[in-house]
Amino acid sequence: MEFLQLAINGIALGAAYALVALGFVLILNATGAVNFAQGDLVAAGGFLAVALAGFLPVPGLLLLPLVVILMAGLGLAVSAAAYWPLRDRPPVAVFISTIALGIVIQNGLNGLFGAEPRAAPPLFSGGHLEFFGLVIARQSLAIMGVAALLIGGVQLLLKHTQLGRRLRATAQDREVAAALGVPVGAMVALTFALAAALAGVAGLLLANQFFITPTHGTDFIVKAYIAVVIGGWGRVGGALAGAMLVALFETVVAAWTDYAVATGLLYAALLTILVFRPQGLFGEAEGRRA
């Protein structure tokens, strides 16, 4: 019973992490570069929800579309400032530029909101539900629902729309996509917008139960990064599974031992995986993307 309780909390957390990891891996596939600001975009989304709630005292669910739109705009700004000028340089240049951009976001948030933890409004309302003795926070259920809808929506977009096919073609072979008339520059910018929107939603979701501070971004990026490495560099499904794994370590394993030991074990597991399976747990032996 206790395990089930923990597992449900873990899945809710993992659902939010999965949104972050999904954005991370979309950019990775589209550009070959790591967006280190992805974690700070989560914090930005959380604070955006906090700020919006100050003006509009409505449930979080109604704030969600606003957060998505504004964060997508921020994503375009990220691609213009930290990716576009460096697109012809080695990917490590983008890694560093997005670290710099992360500092800007983090300290911008700190300047605007201060270092105190803040909470965003819940999606519907607070409170708990009980099923057969399991106590489940409504917010946890809402997180799972919203994340599942969004991940499903992104999958639908990628698989079943022309825009999605163009985004994937750009990610798989940019040169050939351009030669077939796909506007690859716009596709990359859109990918950043999508990734930032996903991060923003994750921020809104997490900022209710767990509060949010400007420096939280580093934690999120590390977790997304680990999820993507475990899942197999560049594999969307793997990243989602990796995010769940990270969250389960943080809840279930942490409850059995303690948080520090669980995190230590997570890193130990990560290093072990990297040594024996450099392609990740769910990656193919010959990954299509290095």
Partner: protein
């Protein structure tokens, strides 16, 4: 002869290390297959990439259907009606065969479906494999997919780079035959091919390249008949 669809004058393509193509003059008219033949490294691929706008350091004049292509991006060239089948096929590996076709279309969804059906009629094998991820297709299927994908854009000029490389003869033959059919339907085809004899058997005209320059050009028949000229492709 009717006015050429594509006119190339004094084209030079350079990389950091080498001048891959130097001073090439060439024209291709609607309805004809022109073969670019030459050994590996003769500059055929670089010439096609230069025409498509995929090489940065290109000099010379390229006129296509009355438009000057200088400085145009691959995107703009594609939209003017140039289709491209890259060397090594380069299908989008993680997408299904059908998605590979759909993504190249710039028409609305109904027209896209019609065009896809036309492609399946042209390459029945692709219809069978339509839901398979492209990386699982055989070399021949991938080559057909790459050609069909380019045709989805309804090109007036199709650039085809080494389509028979690594294919079994029968498969290579069917790919080449399709190119012939494309020209018959009114488009122009510029075919870069290392298998000189196969290319010459299909093409109307041929251009022999060696060391980045045009060594000879003429009707395919005349060149195929000149054994001495052909052997110059081996060097010397």
């Amino acid at each position: 002869m009717a006015e050429a669809l594509l006119t190339v004058a004094g084209l030079t393509v350079a990389y950091a290390d080498v001048r891959a193509v130097e001073g090439v003059d060439l024209n291709v008219s609607a309805g004809e297959v022109v073969a670019l033949i030459g050994a590996n490294g003769a500059g055929k691929s670089s010439l096609l990439k230069g025409l498509m706008g995929l090489e940065a350091r290109v000099q010379g004049n390229i006129t296509f259907a009355g438009s000057d292509l200088a400085g145009l991006s691959p995107l703009r060239r594609a939209r003017l009606g140039i289709g491209y089948v890259p060397e090594g096929r380069r299908v989008f590996p993680g997408m299904t065969a059908e998605e590979n076709l759909l993504v190249a279309s710039r028409e609305d969804s109904a027209a896209r479906t019609v065009r896809t059906a036309e492609m399946y009629a042209l390459f029945p094998q692709l219809a069978v494999r339509r839901h398979a991820p492209a990386w699982q297709l055989s070399g021949g299927e991938q080559q057909m997919l790459a050609v069909a994908r380019a045709l989805m854009t309804r090109p007036r000029l199709l650039l085809v780079d080494e389509p028979t490389l690594g294919l079994a003869p029968a498969t290579a033959q069917s790919v080449i035959r399709v190119l012939r059919g494309i020209a018959a339907s009114g488009a122009a085809v510029l075919l870069a091919e290392q298998n000189a004899r196969a290319a010459l058997a299909t093409a109307d005209r041929a251009v022999l390249m060696r060391l980045g320059r045009i060594e000879a050009s003429g009707t395919a028949k005349a060149i195929a008949g000149d054994e001495r000229l052909l052997r110059s492709l081996m060097g010397g």
